[in-house]
């Protein structure tokens, strides 16, 4: 089946519907769907033809659970076929409940265990900077519950002090952190020298504005509040 027939935002629900999963993963998929769409539709410079190009933008799905929305967007953008979605999680499928970069075309990292994407993103940003590749962005998507992992705070503190302007952290806040983030998640980033914006998850214009906001010399955090 040609993916061109499933290439619109309006098709994502149908694409997600081709996959099945437990309720938690379904909910996780729904909370990330809009920001994933805005990223791949309007923000990221990467196509199925440029997945190995050194100057492509990198999207790192750190919150690897609930990847149905991610797979749906990858299919809508031609990285995956619709057929890939139909047998997801079967033994011969490249698509599992957590993505594997060696199996999923377009997936920059393998994820699933919480708290690994931002460290990988810092290293990717450092690698691009060392190679004087100023154009590509490195966008890492995390969850608010995932933010509990201490590894993120090593990465947040260092990225802020190092002024990794090419790094963006997108934190999808669906209030799943057991002990919460008093004062809001954005403050955790601004305190460490990041520029941070907080936007609602369904507002595509606001998401686009936040994801493309100027942030001269510092990394950008976009907190996406699930409403």
């Amino acid at each position: 089946m040609a993916t061109a027939t499933f290439s619109r935002y309006a098709d994502l629900t149908a694409l997600v519907g081709l996959m099945t999963g437990d309720e938690k993963h379904q909910a996780a998929a729904a909370s990330t769907l809009d920001v994933l769409w805005v990223l791949y539709d309007r923000v990221l410079t990467v196509t199925p033809e440029t997945t190995d190009h050194p100057d492509r933008d990198r999207f790192l799905l750190s919150k690897g659970h609930g990847p149905a929305g991610y797979y749906a967007v990858l299919a809508a953008k031609g990285f995956l076929t619709v057929g890939n979605l139909r047998n997801w999680t079967e033994s011969d499928s490249p698509l599992g409940h957590h993505p594997d970069r060696t199996l999923v075309p377009g997936a920059e990292i393998s994820s699933g265990s919480l708290g690994h994407g931002l460290g990988l993103g810092v290293g990717t940003a450092l690698g691009l900077r060392a190679q004087a590749r100023d154009r590509p962005r490195v966008v890492v998507l995390l969850g608010d519950g995932e933010l509990d992992e201490g590894s993120n705070h090593e990465a947040i503190a260092f990225a802020g002090r190092a002024g990794l302007e090419n790094l963006t952290a997108v934190v999808v806040d669906n209030s799943s952190a057991t002990h919460g983030w008093p004062g809001g998640i954005a403050e955790r980033f601004t305190r460490e020298g990041w520029s941070a914006r907080t936007v609602p998850n369904r507002d595509h214009a606001a998401l686009y504005g936040a994801l493309t906001a100027p942030h001269d010399g510092v990394p950008l955090a976009v907190v996406v509040t699930v409403v």
């Binding site: 920059e108 990292i109 460290g119 990988l120 290293g123 590894s151 090593e154 990465a155």
Partner: protein, 317 residues
């Protein structure tokens, strides 16, 4: 080298080796010539890289005391096609960020050179927190790692120079002590002293253990083989040496957790009857004393006298 050039005293079999200085020199030089190389630090040894850091600020990065990030960032650098080198004490390089080693390097399909310092207990005054006798055993649970345990600074230099141009996963276990002379590296098990056709078996000495093993077995008719690379393990070499020995009795002497390579010996000789004994850092109890390395060697039976006693008993002398 023969047993006659090794000395029986403790100090003669425990020669200071400037491996950390060698690491600094080799990596600094490589950073000057290879634009694809990057060094990540977590404060440890950062002062020693101050000069090269000033020349290559984007490729020598001190992350502070952030060891999960040390490995995560190494994985990210590798994803951009660069060759990361990460360095700190073994306890903080392998044990603390172990899941990052598993996922941010192995599971991503990327590589890095990890160079540890401190050995199993080379700063005994710091106590258990700075001891990492389990580092090689831990890495051994992950596929695809090459593990070097040099016994001399010159070996460390050659192994490092061989590892830097690659894209694989390499662990270089640097030590501040070792043997008086370097030996061949990169060729599997190297016989250092050959036993007769009626010999009592094979002794395998890893890295810094060699000269004390030679001293401890000087009166025994055994083959003493050396290696500075334990993963991949030279199974074929061990089979060959064992076939030439009088008995298929293998004494393994490793400077880290006892028995770390016992399963490799068993796999190498799986189709023939054999005996084996593994010496190394004790598994069954922490040594809580401080003191010196020699104190800890004695406590673990890794001093010359301890190895000699174990060898005589094992080889039924």
């Amino acid at each position: 080298m023969t047993a006659t050039t090794a000395h029986s005293g403790e100090t003669a079999t425990d020669v200071a080796q400037p491996m950390r200085e060698t690491f600094v020199r080799v990596v600094s030089s490589a950073l000057d010539t290879d634009p694809g190389l990057a060094l990540l630090l977590a404060d440890i040894s950062a002062d020693r890289f101050a000069e090269v850091s000033a020349r290559h600020p984007d490729r020598v990065v001190n992350l502070g005391s952030r060891e999960q990030l040390l490995i995560g960032a190494a994985g990210g650098l590798a994803l951009t096609g660069m060759r990361p080198v990460a360095h700190t004490f073994g306890s903080f390089l392998v044990e603390r960020p172990f899941e990052q080693l598993k996922l941010d390097l192995g599971h991503q399909g990327t590589g890095a050179v990890l160079a540890s310092t401190g050995g199993s207990y080379e700063t005994p005054g710091y106590g258990r927190t700075h001891m990492a006798p389990g580092d090689v055993a831990l890495l051994d649970t992950l596929p695809g790692w090459t593990v070097h345990v040099p016994g001399h600074a010159d070996e460390a230099a050659r192994l490092l120079e061989g590892a830097l141009p690659g894209d694989d996963r390499v662990y270089l276990r640097l030590s501040e002590r070792g043997n008086t002379q370097p030996h061949a590296v990169g060729r599997g098990l190297v016989p250092v002293r050959e036993g007769s056709a009626r010999s009592r078996g094979v002794v395998l000495a890893v890295g810094p253990m060699l000269e004390r093993v030679l001293a401890a077995t000087r009166d025994l008719d055994v083959t003493v083989a050396y290696t500075a690379t334990v993963r991949p393990f030279d199974r074929e070499g061990l089979r060959r040496l064992t076939a030439a020995a009088g008995q298929a009795d293998i004494l393994l002497v490793e400077p880290y957790l006892a028995g770390t390579s016992a399963h490799e010996v068993a796999a190498a000789l799986h189709d023939r009857r054999h005996r084996q004994l593994s010496l190394g850092v004790s598994r069954n109890a922490e040594v809580r004393g401080y003191g010196t390395q020699a104190d800890h060697d004695r406590a673990h039976g890794l001093d010359t006298a301890g190895v000699a006693a174990a060898a005589r008993e094992f080889f039924l002398v």
